[in-house]
Structures are given as C-alpha cells and as structure tokens.
Subunit: 72 residues, 2 copies
DNA sequence: CCACATTTGTCCGTATGTATC
DNA sequence: AGATACATACGGACAAATGTG
C-alpha cells in the first residue's frame, strides 16, 4: 500500500469528520497547535491540509480566531 | 489594497495562463526551481501555489518529471 | 488605551525520499 | 552513476488579527 503523507491523512480525517457531522457548519476546528499535537506532526503538514480543505471550500480560516467549517 | 501573498499571485498567474491558452492541456510547467527564480521567491510559495492548483484539478504533479496541465 | 497571549497567515532554509531522465 | 525534479516534513521567524484583562 502506498504510504499516505501526513497532510493528506489529516485532510482526509477532517473531511470525513465534516462529512459525518462530527464537525458541523460553523464549528471551529482545533487550533493548529492542537492539531500538531493530536497528529504528532509539525505545523507544515497541518497547514497544508488546511490549505487543501480551504481550496475545496470546506473550511475557512480567520486570522486570530480559528478555522471554521463552512456554513452551507 | 490588501497585499496579495506570493503563493496566490503565482497561482493566479498560472491559472490565467491556463485559461488564456498560453499553457495548454498536457503542457509541462516550468520546474519549481525555475518558478522560484521567475517569481523571486523560495520554494514554499511555489509549492503552495501548485498545491492549490492541484486541488482545483488544473494541474498534476509527477515525481521526477514535472507538473503538467490537466488534459480534459 | 495598553499589554499580553492566542491563533492564523506567510515565508525562509534545510533535509530527505522517490521517481525520472 | 549522476543530474534533475517533484514530494514531504522539520524548525524557525515574523506579521496580522483577535480576544482578554
């Protein structure tokens, strides 16, 4: 099996949490530093995952506040 | 005017080159190191731009070969 | 108003792995 | 074997926005 990079694993995990309703529209995601600890990685793969999810239109980052699930 | 980050500027530039036909389906983009020099930035913003464009389904990276415009 | 901590945003340099030519 | 090129990740740095006291 191909090894899945951390940032894809994280993006998939968050995406599926959104799909399952565990994360609902308007919800705030854990902070980046919390996600780092949770997945045992540095900031980079977390931010890459968030960039992907933002590009997909699933979440929206707000400087100083957090990253939120898009409300639609 | 809000300052546009480098990675967005680069993504927009490449996206518009694809839209205008200057870059056609199947074409190979300049290498990352060439794009670095062209835009006067480090590798990071170039790769972020490419991650965005890949997520948008506009380009496709191939290890050892290059990044290509999607043929569809 | 001010100071501080928190949080996201952006970028740099470096290192390593993997695939291709 | 070597050069080239993309893929991934680490650590560090600073800016900008927010919230709290």
């Amino acid at each position: 099996m191909p090894r899945m990079p951390d940032y894809q694993r994280i993006a998939n995990d968050i995406r599926s949490k959104i799909g399952s309703g565990e994360l609902k529209p308007g919800d705030r995601l854990p902070s980046i530093s919390q996600l780092q600890k949770q997945y045992g990685v540095s900031a980079q793969p977390v931010k890459s995952a968030l960039l992907v999810l933002q590009t997909e239109g699933l979440v929206e980052g707000h400087q100083g506040r957090g990253v939120f699930v898009i409300d639609r």
